[in-house]
Symmetry: C2
Subunit: 403 residues, 2 copies
C-alpha cells in the first residue's frame, strides 16, 4: 500500500475545531486506501507561551531544559489528534520523537537528525493504525530530549517520509501553496502547480516563507516529493519534486524578497590572500550565517568587503568585524539594515541567457540602485533599498510575465 | 553522602514565584551537604486544564492518549524548575518518567510501578547534579507512556527514595504536616511530630487527604521514612516512619472523617455460603473499590449485606447489585449517600482496651446513631449520618484528649 506522510503545522491544530477538521481529513485519506503517518506541530502559539514561561522563571535557561520544556507542546497536540481520530473510528497512536526513533545529535535547540529508527511507526502502519508523530523533537545519542529548531516539524515529516519510502510528504499549512510572488505584495501572483526541489530551495533561501530551507534540502537529497497544501481549504497545492529533464522549463518561476538581512561593509582591507578567510572564520565561529558576499575590485592595493547577515545577528557581527580591524589592517566597519534582497528564480534560466539583463533593466527603469549582486545557476539576487522592495517585486513579476 | 528525595506538589510549583522559592530550598539543601533528587507534579491546575482540552476534542479519549497528554504537565514544571536552579548556580537535570527508568505495567491512567532503573538518576547525583524527575508518569513494559493515577507523584517520590536508598523522602505540599484531625473542623487540632507508617496508612485510607494511600503503603513496605512539610512556611512537618517498639505509643493519634463514600444495602439475601462472594466478585470485575462490609445476623434464613463504595462509583455499583438480585435470590437494593465515616486511629490501641467503648459512648452522648462498624488492630471506624460528622469529630478529638 502506498504511504503518505501528512504534516500539520501549528495553525492547522490551533483549537478543538481545527483538530477535528484535521482528524476528518486524515480519516478520509486512510479510508481512501492509503497508509497515513501524521506529523504534528504544537498547537497555535503554544511554543511562544512556553518560551515566555521560561523567561519568567529564569535568566539562564539551559538549552537542555529548554528542549524538555518545548517538547511538551507536541505531546499535547498529538494526543488530542489521536483522540479526535478515535472518535471517527480510526485507530491512531501518538509517538514522541524518542518513541518514533528520531535520533539526533546533541546540539540542544538546534539538533540535526542523524537517523530514523522507524520500526515502531512501521509496526503501527502494519497494524492498520495511523501513527501520529511529534514534529520538531527527537532524542539525542546521549538519550536527552532535543528539538530541531526553526522548521523542525517540516524536517521531521520529510525525514519520516524518506524512512518509510512514502510516495509523498504533504505539508499542510495556512497558505494554499507556493506562489510566483508574495500575494500580499503582488495581487496577480499565481499559485504554482509544480516546482523543482532546486527552485524551492532557492525560494526558501531567499525569503519564500512557506517551507523551511533544511526540510527542502532533506527532501531533495532523499528524493522525497512534497506537496504544500492548505488545511483550511484542502484544495490541491503545489507539488515540489525532482526536476523532470524531459519537460521544457519555465524560464522564471518566481520572484522572492527578503527584508530580514542587513549589510556590513569592512572598508580598506589590504588586498592580500587569506584576509577574507580570517574574517569569515571569525564570524562562523560565532555561528553567524553569512549570506551574500561581495568584494570590490582592488584600488590602490586595498578593497572593500561587503556581506549580508540576518538582522538578528547584526550586533554580534559588527562586534566581530570591528574586533578584526587591526588584524585585517582595515580602515573601518559600517552597517546598514535598510536593505532588501530581491531574487528571480527559475530552473530554465540555465539555458536562457538574458534574464539578468532583463532584471537589471527593470530595476533601472524604476530608478532603483543595485547595491550587491549574487547569482546561482537558477537564481539572480540583487540587494536594494528596502523602501523599494515592493515596487521592485511587482515590476519584476510583470516583466517576467508571471501573472 | 546522604540522599534526600524532595517531592513538590502542584500548588508548590504553581507559578514562577513558587518555582523560584522551591529552587531556593533545593539549592540550600544541596549546599547543606546532602545529595538531593527532586520529584515534581504538574503546575497548579495544569492537569485539570489538559483534561478539559481532551473533553473538548473527543468523546472517546483512549486511555493511552490521555496518558500522553497528561504526562506533558510534569515536563513543563520540571524543565522550569531546572532553569530556576541554574540561575542559582545549581547543575540540575530533568528526567521524564521514561528517562528516570520508572517502569510500569501497561494499565493506562492507573499504572503501577514495577521497577525503577535508577542508573541515570544515580549518575546525575554522582556528577554532583540535582536530578529533577517527573512525578506521576512512567514507561510501560510495552514502551508506552503511562501515568500512575491519583497520588501518583507521591508514589514516584517514595519509589525513587527506595531505589536510591534515600535517608528520607520529603513530601512538600500546601499543609504543614499531619494533624490530629482536620483543622478546618477542629480548631484545636495539633500537628503530629511523628506517626508510624501503619497509622498513616489508616489515616490515608479513612479520609486523611495529606498523603495518598498507595505511597504510604510503598513507604511502609520498603521502610522509607517520609516527612510531610509545607513549601509555603518551610517549617518542620510530620515524620512518618517505622514504628519504634521501644517507645510507649499514643493510645489514640488522630481522628479522621470521610464523606466521599456511600452505603449500599442488598436486602433479604439467603444465608448460604458463596452468595456474598458472587456479589463482591461482580463489583470487583467492574473495578469498584468496596470499603466497609457488614453482614447482619441471619434472621429466618436471610440476611442483609451492607457495604460502602466511593460515591463516584455509586451508580455503577447499584446497577451491579440490582443485576445480581435474581442470582442471589435477594429481595432488593437500597442506597444512601448521606453518610460519613468517622475513624479513631492509634498504634497504642492494640494494647489498650476501652477505646471502642469510649468512642461509642462519646457518639451516644451526642445522640448519634452508628450504622456500620469496622475495625483493624489500630483503628475503629463508624458510619454515621453525614450531617453529624463535624460534631462527632470535634467530640472525639476532645474525648481522646488530642488538643
Amino acid at each position: 500500500m502506498s504511504v503518505v506522510v501528512q504534516k500539520y503545522g501549528g495553525s492547522s491544530v490551533a483549537d478543538a475545531d481545527r483538530i477535528r477538521a484535521v482528524a476528518d481529513h486524515v480519516a478520509r485519506t486512510r479510508r481512501g486506501g492509503r497508509e497515513v503517518a501524521v506529523v504534528v506541530s504544537a498547537m497555535g502559539k503554544t511554543t511562544d507561551a512556553l518560551v515566555r514561561m521560561a523567561e519568567d522563571v529564569s535568566a539562564k535557561r539551559p538549552l537542555r531544559e529548554m528542549d524538555m520544556l518545548l517538547s511538551s507542546g507536541e505531546r499535547i497536540s498529538m494526543a488530542l489528534l489521536c483522540m479526535a481520530l478515535a472518535d471517527l473510528g480510526v485507530d491512531a497512536r501518538s509517538f514522541t520523537g524518542s518513541q518514533a526513533g528520531i535520533i539526533t545529535d546533541t546540539v540542544h535547540t538546534k539538533a540535526k537528525i542523524l537517523e530514523i529508527r522507524s520500526d515502531r511507526i512501521r509496526a503501527a502502519l502494519d497494524d492498520g493504525a495511523v501513527p501520529v508523530v511529534a514534529g520538531f523533537q527527537g532524542v539525542s545519542t546521549d538519550r536527552d530530549v532535543t528539538t530541531l529548531g526553526r522548521g523542525g516539524s517540516d524536517t521531521t515529516a520529510v525525514a519520516l517520509a524518506a524512512a518509510l519510502g512514502a510516495s509523498v510528504c504533504e505539508i499542510y499549512t495556512d497558505v494554499s501553496g507556493v506562489y510566483t510572488a508574495d500575494p500580499r505584495i503582488v495581487p496577480a501572483a499565481r499559485k504554482l502547480a509544480r516546482v523543482s526541489h532546486e527552485e524551492m530551495l532557492e525560494m526558501a533561501a531567499t525569503g519564500g516563507r512557506v517551507l523551511a530551507l533544511r526540510s527542502v534540502e532533506f527532501a531533495r537529497n532523499h528524493g522525497v516529493p512534497l506537496e504544500v497544501r492548505s488545511s483550511f481549504t484542502w484544495e490541491p497545492g503545489t507539488i515540489v519534486e525532482e526536476e523532470d529533464p524531459s519537460m521544457e522549463q519555465m524560464i522564471v518561476t518566481a520572484i522572492t524578497h527578503d527584508v530580514s538581512e542587513s549589510k556590513i561593509t569592512v572598508a580598506g582591507v589590504p588586498d592580500r590572500p587569506g584576509l577574507a578567510a580570517r574574517l569569515f572564520r571569525a564570524l562562523a565561529d560565532r555561528a553567524v550565517n553569512v549570506d551574500m558576499i561581495v568584494q570590490n575590485t582592488s584600488l590602490h592595493g586595498t578593497t572593500d568587503i561587503s556581506f549580508t547577515v540576518p538582522t538578528a545577528d547584526l550586533e554580534i557581527s559588527i562586534a566581530v568585524a570591528e574586533s578584526m580591524i587591526g588584524a585585517l589592517g582595515a580602515t573601518g566597519v559600517s552597517a546598514d539594515s535598510d536593505v532588501a534582497r530581491i531574487s528571480v528564480i527559475g530552473a530554465g534560466m540555465k539555458t536562457h541567457p538574458g534574464v539578468t539583463a532583463q532584471m537589471f533593466e527593470t530595476l533601472a527603469a524604476l530608478g532603483i540602485n543595485i547595491e550587491m549582486i549574487s547569482t546561482s545557476a537558477i537564481r539572480i539576487s540583487c540587494l536594494i533599498r528596502s523602501s523599494a522592495a515592493e515596487e521592485a517585486v511587482q515590476a519584476l513579476h510583470t516583466a517576467f510575465e508571471l501573472g
